[in-house]
């Protein structure tokens, strides 16, 4: 199996305050890997380090064979990483269609309009509700629908890997289930996903492999099913 993301021993600090130390993580092609951990464990810091927003003081990140450790966010995007940011971060006063088209910014310059229209069809196939609401302003959608737009926007980039940061945050339980159904669907179509989640129960159900992060370190890793059974995870994260 080819490795899509390979994070090797990175350290990240905010100024002098170390946040991540010696974090390593890999995602293989077609795999869903989840990173779970409590609030303040450093999950979002890893997101920001991976996308090129934060500098790494040590270690390296390789995306599909290319070293992206020192790249700026727009360069990292060009290498094929698309994001579903925490809290969705849609372009609120713009239409659903405009949001999706902005996701395909690089495709439009590279492949042209024809390819992007095909991507649009694919996305509307996946989320018929968005097709109905294409002209609606993104901020007028419900939370669940907005999450669909955020995921679709990432899909429109036709990325090698999608990085999701807490897609379940702030959503009603029934909508959370819907979001995870979508992630499962994406998995079937062979898309590679790194899923950062606080909702360990749902994340472990959908993922192939999992990493557990505590205070800036990876403290456990393994097959998602195994981790679900392990005592420590059950006690700490599943409250069962």
């Amino acid at each position: 199996m080819t490795t899509m993301i390979e994070i090797s021993n990175i350290d990240v600090a905010y100024g002098k305050v170390p946040v991540l130390s010696d974090v390593s993580l890999t995602v293989a092609k077609g795999e869903i890997v989840t990173l779970i951990g409590a609030n303040g464990a450093g999950k979002t810091t890893l997101f920001r380090a991976l996308t090129g927003v934060l500098p790494k003081s040590r270690g390296s990140i390789v995306l599909d064979g290319k070293d992206i450790t020192r790249m700026k966010p727009d360069r990292v995007a060009r290498e094929g990483l698309a994001v579903v940011p925490e809290g969705r971060r849609l372009f609120g006063p713009m239409s659903v269609l405009d949001n999706l088209m902005l996701g395909s910014f690089l495709r439009l310059t590279g492949q042209g309009k024809g390819a992007v229209n095909e991507d649009l069809d694919m996305v509307f196939d996946l989320f018929p509700r968005l097709a109905e609401r294409r002209e609606q302003l993104a901020r007028t959608l419900s939370g669940g629908e907005q999450q669909m737009v955020a995921i679709s926007r990432a899909l429109m980039a036709r990325p090698k890997v999608i990085l999701m940061d807490e897609p379940s945050i702030g959503l009603a339980p029934i909508i959370v289930r819907e979001v995870f159904d979508v992630i499962r669907k994406l998995k079937e179509s062979g898309i590679t996903i790194l899923l950062i989640e606080q909702n360990a129960r749902m994340a472990l159900k959908v993922a192939d492999r999992a990493y557990v992060m505590e205070i800036g370190r990876i403290t456990a890793e393994g097959d998602a099913g195994d981790l679900r059974q392990s005592d420590i995870i059950r006690k700490l994260y599943l409250a069962a």
């Binding site: 996308t51 927003v53 700026k72 966010p73 727009d74 995007a77 060009r78 698309a82 994001v83 940011p85 971060r89 372009f91 609120g92 006063p93 713009m94 239409s95 405009d98 088209m101 902005l102 996701g103 910014f105 690089l106 439009l108 002209e135 609606q136 302003l137 007028t140 926007r153 980039a157």
Partner: protein
């Protein structure tokens, strides 16, 4: 809602508006009203340019009087001292403004928000000082007079009517260009930058480059107005570069609505008309302006045109309702 609704409306409305604008002098005849309308056109050009930068790209700049003055002085100097034909002088002036805007924009657009506003404000002050101090080329405080009017062959366009048929067609073209731009891919990207530039970066957009492009374009809009103004009035003075003028232009946008091209035009019309109407009050005019601005901001926080539109719609939709 508003964005998508405007998309088709923009082009549909532009045609009859243009026809109306070009026919208007037939109704009004040559004279005072045309003079006012010419000023409205010049103000509108600056306002539309600024609207692209502030309203659509979200970058607050207080440098548009500077570029107005650069356009005006370049054109004046080129035609007065170097004998260029006014139309040629205007074209070269735009090149000068674009290069300057590129230089300044590349530096100040590394800043954001209030810092950007202050940096552009400093630039405006610098330009004003240079114009006053470099008297050997700019005429200093006395300004430059005797700037040749626009001419076609041997026909000098020195009447209000002649100027009208230059500035309004130019404005309509600049308007159409701006309307098309905001509905284009480029427009979508700059609106995205206004909403959240960090997310735009995560999708591969070179945000800085886009900002610089909009800044240059927007500055050239102001500069075109400046050049036309110089040949229209025949005289330029440092007041063209003043800070209060820069603030007047931003006030135009506040009146019309920051993120609506048509609103920028309406704002320009409202402010120009008010200026004329309040001439009797001399310096108290500024007080009246201030009051009017506060009233508009309270009743229509998104600007006069969007506000009126919403107000009319609400009136139509709720005939039985208790709302006003």
């Amino acid at each position: 809602m508003f964005d998508t609704y405007m998309k088709d409306m923009n082009r549909l409305v532009w045609l009859p508006v243009s026809a109306g604008v070009l026919a208007l002098p037939l109704l009004l005849g040559d004279g005072y009203y045309l003079n006012v309308l010419n000023f409205i056109a010049l103000y509108s050009m600056i306002a539309i340019g600024l609207c692209l930068l502030i309203g659509y790209c979200g970058q607050l700049s207080i440098s548009h009087s500077a570029f107005f003055a650069i356009g005006a002085y370049s054109s004046a100097i080129l035609s007065l001292r170097f004998g260029f034909h006014p139309f040629v002088a205007i074209l070269i002036s735009q090149l000068i403004s674009a290069v300057l805007a590129l230089g300044i924009g590349s530096v100040v657009l590394r800043l954001k928000g209030h810092y950007l506003a202050i940096a552009t404000l400093s630039f405006t002050i610098i330009v004003e000082v240079i114009i006053v101090e470099a008297a050997w080329v700019t005429g200093g405080l006395q300004g430059l007079s005797g700037i040749p009017p626009l001419s076609l062959g041997s026909m000098e366009l020195d009447t209000d009517l002649g100027v009208y048929y230059v500035v309004w067609p130019v404005l309509l073209l600049l308007l159409l260009f701006a309307l098309n731009l905001i509905d284009s891919r480029f427009g979508r990207v700059i609106k995205g930058i206004r909403e959240n530039e960090d997310v735009m970066r995560l999708f591969g957009v070179g945000v800085y480059g886009y900002k610089v492009k909009v800044f240059v374009l927007s500055s050239v809009y102001a500069s075109i107005a400046g050049s036309l103004y110089a040949h229209f009035i025949g005289f330029v003075s440092p007041s063209a570069a003043s800070l209060s003028f820069a603030i007047d232009i931003i006030m135009v946008l506040a009146f019309g609505g920051f993120n609506l091209i048509w609103g920028a035009m309406l704002g320009a019309a409202a402010i120009t008309y008010l200026t004329e109407y309040l001439t009797d009050f001399a310096d108290f005019k500024r007080v009246a302006f201030g009051v009017a601005l506060v009233v508009v901001m309270i009743i229509f926080p998104s600007g006069l045109l969007p506000g009126l539109q919403r107000w009319l719609k609400a009136g139509r939709r709720a005939p039985t309702g208790a709302q006003r």
